[in-house]
C-alpha cells in the first residue's frame, strides 16, 4: 500500500506519534532504507524526550498560592459584591426619600394590612437580606428539613419550598422573620450569576384570596398573591417578565400542595 511519497511532515508526525498505523509502518519502512534520514528522525525524537524531561519538574511542583484558581474565583466574586453594596446603598437612599415623604403620609400611607402590606414586608426583607454576603439565610438549603420543620412550627401550618431550579434559581435556604402580622417565612434563591430572589410567605388576616399583583419600589420588583388564607410575595431585582413567570411557577407548585 502506498499513500504517496514520505514528506517532511510525515517525519515530524512520526516523531510526535501523530500518524495512523498504516502510514506509520510506511514511514518506518522508508527510514529503514534511509539511514541518514533515520538518524535525523532519531535525533528529533531524542530532542522531544529531553525537552519534556527538562521541563517536567516545573509541572510537578506544587502550584504556588497566587495561582490557586478557586481562591481567585472567590476574589473575583468579592469584587462583584461591590455591586451588591451599591444596590444596598440605593435601597438606603430610597429609604431616606421615603422618610422625607413622611409629612405626606396621610395622603400616601403605605398599606397597613392585606396584600399591600405583605408586598411591603417582602420588599423590606429583600432589601435587608439579599445583599447580605455573610448570612443571607439562617438555615441553609442543606438543612432543608430542619428549616421546614422550624417554619412550619412557627407558622402553625406545613410550609413548602417551591422548586425554581428549572428556571435556573437554586434554593439557598431561609429564615423566619417578624412582621406586624406575625411570623413569616423567607426563602431565598440564587442563580449562577449570584442574582438573588426572596419569597416571603405568611398567614393573611384579610385578602385571604388575592389575584397576583405586581408591586415595585425603586428597582425592586415583586409579585404578590394570596391563596386560601396564605399570602406570598416573590421579590427580586430582575426583569418583571421573568419574575412574573417565576411567581406563576411558584404559585402553581404551592397550589398543588
Amino acid at each position: 500500500m502506498n499513500n504517496g511519497p514520505i514528506t517532511e511532515g510525515d517525519l515530524h508526525a512520526f516523531v510526535d506519534e501523530a500518524l495512523g498505523p498504516e502510514r506509520r509502518i510506511e514511514v518506518a519502512g522508508h527510514l529503514a532504507n534511509h539511514p541518514e534520514l533515520a538518524q535525523r528522525v532519531q535525533s528529533y525524537r531524542r530532542q522531544r524526550g529531553e525537552l519534556r524531561a527538562a521541563l517536567a519538574p516545573v509541572a510537578e511542583e506544587p502550584i504556588p498560592p497566587e495561582l490557586h484558581l478557586a481562591r481567585m474565583i472567590k476574589a473575583h466574586r468579592t469584587s462583584r459584591t461591590a455591586r451588591w453594596q451599591a444596590a444596598a446603598a440605593a435601597v438606603l437612599i430610597l429609604g431616606i426619600g421615603g422618610a422625607g415623604g413622611w409629612t405626606l403620609r396621610s395622603v400616601f400611607q403605605p398599606p397597613r394590612a392585606g396584600i399591600g402590606a405583605l408586598a411591603q414586608e417582602a420588599t423590606d426583607s429583600y432589601a435587608v437580606f439579599a445583599p447580605d454576603r455573610v448570612r443571607p439565610v439562617e438555615i441553609m438549603a442543606t438543612d432543608r428539613s430542619e428549616l421546614i420543620q422550624w417554619a412550619s412550627q412557627r407558622l402553625s401550618r406545613p410550609v413548602a419550598v417551591p422548586d425554581l431550579s428549572t428556571s435556573g434559581y437554586r434554593f439557598i435556604g431561609g429564615r423566619v422573620i417578624a412582621t406586624a402580622h406575625g411570623p413569616a417565612v423567607l426563602f431565598m434563591y440564587d442563580d449562577d450569576h449570584g442574582t438573588r430572589l426572596v419569597l416571603l410567605s405568611r398567614d393573611m388576616a384579610i385578602d385571604k384570596n388575592a389575584p397576583m399583583a405586581q408591586h415595585s419600589r425603586g428597582l425592586i420588583t415583586g409579585f404578590a398573591w394570596a391563596d386560601k388564607g396564605i399570602g406570598y410575595s416573590l421579590v427580586g431585582h430582575i426583569s418583571s417578565q421573568l419574575l412574573h413567570s417565576l411567581a406563576d411557577e411558584a404559585r402553581r407548585q404551592l397550589g398543588n400542595d
Partner: protein
C-alpha cells in the same frame, strides 16, 4: 464557575510549564499564568461552549506571553541572576543530566520566539498540529514548516553546528 475550576485547574501545571519554557524566568512565567487565569475567569462566560478549554486557555496565555516578549524587546534584553539556567529545574536531576538540560534550554533560547512557542506546544504540551495552529493563529502549513525549521535548528545547535545554517530554504527571522 464550578465547571471552570474542574476544566481549568488540571491545566495549571501545563500552563506553568509552557510559560517557563517560553520565558525562562520563574517570576515572569508565574506572573503570566496569573494574568492568564484572571483573564480566563472574567471571560469564561464569553467562551464558546464547543471551544476546547485547553486550546482556549493556551491561546490566552500565548497572547499574553507575546505581549510580554514585545515589551522585553523594547526595553532591551532582560538579564538577571534569576535568569540563570538552573532555576527552570526545581528538583535538580543528576549533574550530567542537568548540564545537558541546561545546554538544551540555552539552545532553545537561541530559537526565534515563534519557533520556540511551537516546539513547546507540540513536543512538550502534546497539542495536535491543528490545536497549535489554532493557538498561534497560523495556517496548519505554517505549523508544519515552522516545526521542521525549529527542530532542525535546535538539533544543529545542540549537536554543535552553527545555528546560522538551518534546513535548506528556511527563512530565519531574528526576534531578539
Amino acid at each position: 464557575m464550578k465547571v471552570m475550576t474542574l476544566l481549568i485547574e488540571p491545566l495549571i501545571p501545563a500552563l506553568r510549564r509552557y510559560a517557563h519554557g517560553l520565558m525562562r524566568d520563574r517570576a515572569t512565567a508565574d506572573d503570566l499564568v496569573q494574568d492568564c487565569l484572571e483573564r480566563a475567569i472574567t471571560r469564561w462566560h464569553q467562551r464558546r461552549e464547543d471551544n476546547d478549554p485547553r486550546s482556549w486557555i493556551f491561546t490566552i496565555l500565548h497572547n499574553l506571553a507575546v505581549n510580554r516578549m514585545r515589551q522585553r524587546q523594547r526595553r532591551g534584553p532582560h538579564i538577571s541572576i534569576e535568569d540563570a539556567d538552573e532555576d527552570a529545574l526545581a528538583l535538580p536531576p543528576p549533574q550530567e543530566e542537568r548540564l545537558r538540560h541546561d545546554d538544551l534550554m540555552r539552545a532553545l533560547d537561541g530559537l526565534p520566539a515563534d519557533q520556540r512557542a511551537l516546539l513547546l506546544l507540540i513536543s512538550v504540551e502534546d497539542l495536535s498540529y491543528a490545536e497549535a495552529a489554532d493557538v498561534l493563529k497560523v495556517p496548519i502549513g505554517t505549523v508544519m514548516s515552522r516545526l521542521a525549521r525549529a527542530r532542525e535548528r535546535l538539533r544543529r545547535a545542540v549537536e554543535g553546528e552553527s545555528t546560522r545554517v538551518t534546513a535548506p530554504g528556511a527563512h530565519l527571522r531574528r526576534v531578539k
